[in-house]
């Protein structure tokens, strides 16, 4: 374990969503062409032929509507080697990305080459290799491959005519989420059943979770303050709406809990009472999960539940609203 790993906590964070693309008429022609194994470029006002067609002519600003088929053979203008491919690239082995000037086009097209490193040459002739079942997406072109001498570029049979102008594009982002040193101390405290905040040396306000710097004074917060598991609900929301990626089944009460001795409330779950009975000013206490389930997470506190105390006076928490 390195020093930095020891100092701060980190955990994987995956952000993943299937976006829907409305591609519009110009890129729609390009994608429809791919589905028929054709490369549909746009002819611009200055005579240049560009693949994929730009939606608007950069010089005249008009929509690009003049389509022309190019390729499927072309010439490698430049290439770069990818020694360590990452997930979802065209190959899971080292390969080249290349700029290919397709026959009939005036600007190059970026795609992968299925050609060994030692055979790569600027100026070499290549052709598109199609997947077996094109769907109208850029991945319909598996890659470009060598075009042998005297070989006529193949004319592939057309598939079904295009029927759609929308694409689903899954996006997956894999991050390592790193907590700050102060947050890490807070999360490690939770692993010991302790709630640790920090006090700003300038304004004296106690922040939990600690920030490392006071958001008002901008100075480091160094004084550690241990806080009790009791507090006051300042305000709250009853979440009735389900949504993608939701971790807690609605309805649930998401409440700002102002721990006794803290100067800022934080969001947590309220259970042990009907949602409709939760009140501003209600006194609550942390309900911890069984100790053997504890980790370095706020989820060690299962939820907050009401205590037997009377509600806090509005005046005591109104500056926290």
């Amino acid at each position: 374990m390195t020093t930095s790993q020891a100092r701060t906590l980190s955990a994987p964070l995956r952000v993943s969503f299937d976006y829907t693309r409305s591609v519009g008429p110009t890129l729609g022609a390009f994608f429809a062409g791919l589905r028929e194994r054709r490369l549909v470029a746009g002819r611009l006002a200055d005579g240049s032929v560009v693949l994929p067609p730009p939606e608007f002519d950069p010089a005249t600003h008009e929509p690009v509507t003049d389509f022309v088929e190019v390729g499927p053979a072309g010439t490698v203008q430049s290439w770069t080697w990818v020694p360590e491919p990452v997930a979802e690239q065209p190959f899971d082995r080292p390969f080249a990305w290349a700029l290919v000037l397709l026959d009939g086009a005036t600007a190059p097209f970026l795609h992968a080459l299925d050609i060994p490193y030692d055979d790569l040459r600027v100026g070499m002739r290549v052709r598109a290799r199609w997947v077996n079942e094109p769907v109208g997406a850029i991945t319909d072109i598996a890659c470009f491959e060598k075009l042998r001498d005297q070989e006529d570029p193949p004319r592939d049979a057309a598939g079904d005519p295009p029927t759609h102008g929308r694409l689903i594009t899954p996006v997956n982002l894999d991050y390592t989420y790193a907590a700050s040193p102060e947050e890490s101390a807070f999360f490690r405290g939770l692993e010991q059943g302790r709630i640790l905040g920090q006090r700003c040396p300038a304004c004296g306000k106690v922040y939990v979770p600690p920030r490392g710097a006071c958001p008002v004074d901008g100075v480091p917060t160094t004084d550690e303050v241990e806080l009790p598991g009791t507090g006051t609900v300042t305000t709250f929301c009853i979440v009735n709406v389900p949504f993608l990626g939701q971790k807690i089944t609605p309805p649930y009460v998401s409440a700002y809990v102002l721990l006794d001795g803290a100067d800022i409330a934080f969001l947590h779950l309220i259970l042990g009472i009907e949602a409709s009975e939760v009140r501003m000013g209600m006194r609550v206490e942390a309900v911890w999960r069984p100790r053997d389930e504890w980790g370095t997470t706020v989820e060690n506190i299962s939820h907050f539940a009401p205590t037997d105390e009377p509600d806090a006076d509005f005046e005591s928490y109104k500056v926290h609203l």
């Binding site: 976006y19 829907t20 409305s22 907590a179 009735n240 993608l244 990626g245 997470t297 706020v298």
Partner: protein, 387 residues
């Protein structure tokens, strides 16, 4: 160099809809841009610079969309800037464009803001679970609902005020052909009967999820002289504050109060309630109308709801708010702030169509974003300001 006068000389927007599957993001922006240029009687050749705004990239999953949009925005060979201040971005984008003219750097600046919410899901994008913390957050509604509850408690407002706002804005939207929601049957009673989503916020008290764009042409005095009824920019203001801080007031945020005070001072306005003739404010959840009425100084603290309840903010009232139908009727998030600024301009130009208020001389456009932490606002007027 002293500040140069600047005016809105062209306004364009799309018909805002749940899904615009027929156009790409570029095509959507161009609909608004082409209308703004036509309105200004200018072409791309007349434009010196382009300023584009949109909300978080996660909403469409396109990182830095301004890169791929450059040619669609007519930016080849010209400066292209992208602005981002979360939900207030449409407003701050317009202010950045205005500042390029007011500073004398450029004469004619095109500005556009957009969102294509149908490509993704904003609630998901705003609720990505973060390791180590409690996953109780639930989109924008989940964020703002507790603060709405705080407002109700602090002001002792009657519980139907949110529904009054929602019914008013939805009825106003019927007069705006560009508005997304066209629900003629919406009443206070129907809003109160709608499902409670993020208690205390009901379904009909929330904004829709829209695809749309808005564009403005902002120009110098020479250009404005050749345009009928330009909307002169009398004042602009932006302020920010931390998302969370000890004892931060999320009901009546300091940054909003400070921005408004500076705005009124710049515009020479001492009594905004009397001197502003129409207001377009950013109200994504209905209760934010009374909250912002107070934050902006139209009402004393705790009194904003009384203006709403008594009909002052209705189209027939003396301080009409969101005659366009507002964010509650159309919410292409990145464009929503610019739409407020654009609708204020339309009001002072006398070009708001059926939702025009008679005799508007000065109007407010307002936007906020993030956790009520970014504020952008402007005052536009029918008269050229004395600078």
């Amino acid at each position: 160099m002293s500040k140069q006068p600047a005016a809105v000389v062209g306004v364009g927007q799309t018909h805002h809809r749940a899904k615009r599957e027929d156009v790409s993001m570029a095509g959507l922006c161009r609909e608004a841009i082409d209308r703004a240029l036509l309105d200004a009687n200018l072409s791309f050749d007349d434009i010196d610079a382009i300023v584009v705004g949109k909300a978080p990239d996660l909403f469409e999953g396109v990182m830095m969309p301004e890169l791929y949009l450059a040619e669609a925005l007519g930016a080849a060979g010209k400066p292209l800037l992208r602005v981002h201040t979360a939900g207030s971005v449409g407003g701050s984008t317009a202010i950045v464009a205005a500042s390029l003219v007011q500073s004398g750097v450029h004469k004619r600046v095109l500005t556009v803001a957009f969102e294509k919410q149908s490509e993704s899901n904003a609630m998901w994008a705003l609720s990505v679970p973060v390791p180590f913390i409690m996953p109780v957050h639930a989109g924008a509604g989940g964020y703002f609902a507790p603060h709405v509850r705080s407002y109700i408690r602090r002001s002792n407002a009657p519980l139907h005020i949110g529904a009054v706002v929602a019914a008013k804005d939805r009825q106003n939207a019927l007069k705006n052909p560009f508005a997304h929601l066209q629900n003629k049957d919406t009443t206070v009673e129907s809003v109160l009967a709608s499902q409670m989503l993020w208690d205390p916020i009901r379904y009909d008290e929330t904004c829709p999820s829209s695809d749309g764009a808005c564009a403005l042409v902002i120009a110098d005095a020479d250009t404005a002289a050749s345009v009928d009824n330009p909307a002169w920019i009398h004042a602009t203001a932006m302020r920010s504050e931390p998302t969370t801080a000890a004892e931060r007031d999320q009901v009546n945020p300091q940054a909003g109060r400070d921005a408004a005070a500076y705005l009124w001072k710049q515009a020479g306005i001492t009594n905004p309630r009397r001197e502003i003739d129409a207001v377009e404010m950013y109200v994504p959840f209905s209760w934010f109308e009374p909250m912002w009425l107070e934050n902006l100084g139209f009402a004393d603290e705790g009194e904003g709801w009384k203006l709403t309840e008594s009909g002052v903010t209705a189209m027939t009232g003396d301080l009409p708010v969101n005659c366009s139908g507002g964010v509650l009727s159309s919410n292409p998030i990145g464009a929503s702030g610019m739409l407020r600024f654009a609708e204020a301009a339309l009001q002072v130009r006398g070009r708001a169509g059926e939702h025009q208020v008679d005799g508007v001389r000065r109007a407010l456009g307002h936007a906020y974003g993030g956790g009520s932490q970014f504020f952008a606002m402007w005052v536009v007027g029918a008269d050229k300001p004395a600078l």
